[in-house]
């Protein structure tokens, strides 16, 4: 076997050349590609880590916001509930007050109507009584109702007790003998003279009478001196009648369902 040094040198050169070629065309490009891929993977992993961290941060933020929202929601709901409750109470109170006011007004109106009715009944009764009395008196005798009233009042004065007479004298003397004679109707001159004459007979001092027509006396006549009064009228009878009518009306209302 011969060792050929030229071939050895040539093969050594060839091998070194092959090393260079392989480095140039194989190892460097392959390792470069592997490094690039590893870098890419590392970047992707780092990016994924960053994204995960960001996602976790966002999740935390979202949870926090959600909790805050829930808390705020609960607060608002509680506030709204309490406000609604207070509003309901206020409205109920207002409605109750309004209903009370309406009821009071209605009651007042009813009372007013009843009073009005009472007054109307009284006036009507007076008119009716007067008409009946006048008709009866006209049928039975020649006296008018006014004359009969004056006559009754004169009799009343004459039948007056001593104590009452004393109080009237004191009242007249306090007003220096002046008295007022109120009547529901206009007295004729003869009736006025008759009254003056009756008083002159009953009392020792001279009495000056002032005549005044007062329709509210309801068919009556009264003598007023310094707050003291002697009267006759049919208002008492009418009041008694009104009382009995009122009683009847109330009984009718209580029997209503």
């Amino acid at each position: 076997m011969i060792i050929d040094w030229f071939v050895i040198a040539a093969q050594a050169f060839n091998f070194l050349l092959l090393i260079w070629l392989m480095k140039r065309f194989l190892y460097k490009p392959i390792l470069k590609a592997i490094d690039a891929r590893e870098k890419l993977i590392a970047e992707k992993l780092a990016d994924a880590d960053r994204k995960e961290a960001a996602a976790q941060a966002e999740q935390k933020e979202f949870q926090q916001k959600n909790e805050e929202f829930e808390q705020r929601h609960a607060e608002l709901l509680s506030q709204a509930t309490s406000e609604a409750e207070s509003q309901r109470r206020r409205l109920l109170n207002e409605a109750s007050e309004e209903a009370d006011n309406l009821r009071a007004k209605r009651q007042e109106m009813l009372i007013h109507d009843a009073q009005k009715l009472d007054r109307a009944i009284g006036l009507r009764t007076q008119e009716e009584v007067f008409a009946i009395a006048r008709k009866a008196l006209a049928d039975l005798s020649s006296d008018s109702l006014e004359e009969r009233i004056c006559e009754v009042f004169t009799r009343r004065l004459r039948d007056m007790g001593s104590e009452e007479k004393e109080r009237l004298i004191k009242a007249l003397s306090a007003q220096s003998g002046t008295a007022q004679l109120n009547s529901a109707f206009e007295l004729s001159q003869a009736q006025r003279n008759n009254m003056q004459k009756t008083l002159g007979e009953l009392f020792p001092t001279e009495i000056r009478l002032k005549f005044k027509t007062v329709p509210e006396l309801i068919g009556g006549i009264e003598l007023v001196a310094n707050g003291h009064k002697i009267a006759w009228n049919i208002a008492d009878y009418i009041a008694s009648l009104e009382e009995s009518v009122d009683r009847l009306i109330k009984e009718g209302r209580s029997n209503e369902p």
């Binding site: 076997m1 011969i2 060792i3 050929d4 030229f6 071939v7 050895i8 040198a9 040539a10 093969q11 050594a12 060839n14 091998f15 070194l16 050349l17 092959l18 090393i19 070629l21 392989m22 480095k23 065309f25 194989l26 190892y27 490009p29 392959i30 390792l31 470069k32 590609a33 592997i34 690039a36 891929r37 890419l40």
Partner: protein, 232 residues
């Protein structure tokens, strides 16, 4: 009987000759270089890549991993030298299945050339890693008396590398040739398959031994520098 492809001479001018060893080496160089060039021309750095790129990546990363396992700290700088040894020998062996192909590794000149490259590469990387003085000191360790033994060891292991590879490759080819004359059909095929296995094992052994020698030349430096780096 022909023992080496060196004996097939195509052209000669004085000492300069063009024999089968050189010609088939050029052929292997061309195939490896052009094949690599074609495949690596369109490399994809992403996840989608061709099967040829996958194959080359597996080979390169496998070589790098093997070098790292042997003990070399930065395997990437040795991939060019050790990887090329492995690929050249392995590809030469695989090509023996092509009829008429003469493996260059069956020539003692080629194996000596490869062993000489390793012989030069060991001190080159040793000096590069440790520095000239430190590397030369390794020859007188543990004592000065060991200097001749270390030198003899260097030369003998280089010779051993060359002869081992040549002996295996040549013997394989010779056995096939002998069997071909005795039983021309079945046994040569089986022995060719054995020859492929033997050739790949030899490629692995050659490159691993070269890596071990380089690692032995550079490892001392590492053990000394490690504490310093820790102190820093």
């Amino acid at each position: 009987m022909r023992l080496s492809p060196d004996e097939i001479v195509y052209w000669q001018y004085g000492p300069i000759k063009l024999n089968a060893t050189i010609v088939f080496t050029w052929g292997i160089m061309l195939v490896l270089a052009i094949g690599s060039m074609i495949i690596t021309r369109r490399l994809q750095p992403g996840h989608k890549r061709s099967r040829w790129q996958n194959l080359l990546e597996i080979i390169v990363t496998g070589i790098e991993a093997q070098i790292g396992e042997i003990g070399l700290s930065s395997p990437r700088q040795y991939v060019g030298f050790l990887g090329t040894i492995f690929l050249f020998i392995a590809f030469s062996t695989l090509c023996t299945v092509i009829p008429g192909f003469e493996s260059p590794t069956g020539s003692l000149s080629t194996t000596i050339a490869l062993a000489l490259c390793v012989f030069v590469a060991v001190p080159f990387y040793g000096i590069k890693e440790k520095g000239l003085g430190s590397y030369l000191k390794s020859y007188v360790k543990p004592t000065f008396i060991m200097l001749p033994f270390n030198i003899i060891s260097e030369i003998s292991r280089t010779m051993a590398l060359a002869v081992r590879l040549f002996g295996n490759m040549m013997s394989g080819a010779m056995i096939i040739a002998i069997l071909f004359t005795i039983t021309p059909f079945l046994f040569p095929i089986i022995m060719t398959l054995f020859g492929l296995l033997t050739g790949l094992v030899q490629a692995y052994i050659f490159s691993v031994l070269a890596a071990v020698y380089i690692a032995a030349a550079t490892v001392t430096h590492k053990t000394k520098t490690e504490p310093k780096t820790e102190e820093q």
